[in-house]
Symmetry: C2
C-alpha cells in the first residue's frame, strides 16, 4: 500500500511512520523541513505540487497541523486565521486535492485532538480547529465514498506528559502505540466518517 | 436588558427580534443592509466600529453567518475560507471584541446548525463552520466566565421547509418558536458552554 504521510517527522508522525512501515506500507514521508519530500500543507499550491510529484496513492495520512495557544483575550483575528490555515484548510486541501490521486477505495486519515470536546485555557483556537475538522470528516465521508475519511482525535500523548502534562490536569493521556493503532484502523479497515476519540 | 442582535433581518433574526422585544429587551437590530445599525461582521474592523457605537451591552445575540454550498469536489480553498470568514471568524470576533463591551455577567449567543452533527451533500463547508463554532463555544466558556457563551444549533426551520426541505430528507425540522426559546434560555438563563441542539 502506497501511503503518503504528512507531518512525518513530529512525535506522532515518527510513531505512525514506524508502525505503517512495520506493517508493510510503502510510506512516503513528507515534512516541512525533512522527510522524503518537503511540503508545507498550509499552502494549497504546495499541496498541489506534492500530489503532482507522488502520483497515485492508496492512503493519505496526516499527523500535521499547527495552531497558536494564547489566552482568549490576547488572541487576534490573525491567530484564528492561522489556526484555520495551518490545521483546518491544510488538511481539507489534502482531501479535496487528493480526490484526484487516491485509489478508488483509498482513505484519508486526519488528525484533530481532544480539545474539540474537552477545552483547556489558551486552547480556543485549537478547539475551533479540531471541531471544524471533525465535522468536516463526517460531511466529507458521505460525499467521497467509496473513498474513505476518518479523524484521529487523541488526548495528550503519554510520551509528551513531561513537556505538556501541566496543560492537561486530571485529563489522563494516551500512549502513542494506541494512537498509531487508530491510524491503522482507519487506513487498513473499512470505516469512514469516524472520529477516533482516544 | 440592552441586547445587540446581529443578523436581525433574516428569517431567524426576525423571530428572535420579535420574541426578545416582547420579553422587554431593548434590542439593537444589526444587519448588513437593514436594521438600526449596519454592519458586516465578516469584517473585524466593522465589528470594532459597531461596538464603538453601541457601547456597553448586556447580551450579544447572533443569527448571522453565510457559507457556500457545493459538492465537495467543486469546493475551492476560497469557499472554505469564505465559510470561515463569514460564519466562524465573524462570530468569534463578536465574542473576542465584545469582551470589552459586555456586562460582567453578560452573554454571547452564537448560531451554528445541525450540519455540525448530521451532514448533507454539498454541506461540507457548513459542517466545518458549525463544528468549529461549537468547539469554540465550549472553549471560550471556560475563559470568559463570569461572562457566558452558548450556541443555538438548529435543524432546518419548519417555516423554511417549502424552500429547503428537499435538502434535509427524513431529518424533520424545528419550529422558529422553539429556536427562539433557546436564545431566551441562553440570554436570560445562567448556562454557559452549551450547544442547544434542536
Amino acid at each position: 500500500m502506497k501511503t503518503l504521510l504528512i507531518g512525518a517527522t513530529g512525535t506522532l508522525g515518527t510513531a505512525v511512520h514506524k508502525e505503517l512501515s512495520a506493517r508493510g506500507h510503502d510510506v512516503i514521508a513528507v515534512g516541512r523541513s525533512a522527510g522524503d519530500l518537503r511540503c508545507d500543507i498550509s499552502d494549497p499550491a504546495q499541496t498541489a505540487e506534492l500530489y503532482r510529484r507522488v502520483g497515485r496513492v492508496d492512503a493519505v495520512v496526516s499527523a500535521a497541523g499547527d495552531v497558536p495557544y494564547k489566552p482568549l483575550p490576547e488572541m487576534t483575528p490573525e491567530d484564528y486565521r492561522a489556526a484555520f490555515t495551518g490545521k483546518v484548510l491544510a488538511q481539507i486541501e489534502l482531501v479535496r486535492q487528493g480526490l484526484a490521486h487516491i485509489a478508488e477505495r483509498g482513505s484519508f486519515t486526519l488528525v484533530t485532538g481532544i480539545l474539540a470536546r474537552e477545552p483547556i485555557p489558551t486552547g480556543s483556537a485549537a478547539s475551533m480547529a479540531n471541531g471544524a475538522l471533525e465535522a468536516f470528516v463526517r460531511a466529507a465521508a458521505i460525499e467521497i465514498a467509496p473513498r474513505r475519511i476518518n479523524a484521529v482525535s487523541p488526548n495528550v500523548f503519554t510520551e509528551s506528559l513531561a513537556d505538556y502534562g501541566s496543560y492537561f490536569p486530571g485529563m489522563g493521556s494516551v500512549g502513542l502505540d494506541e494512537v498509531t493503532q487508530a491510524y491503522v484502523r482507519s487506513v487498513e479497515g473499512g470505516q469512514t466518517g469516524q472520529v477516533y476519540a482516544l
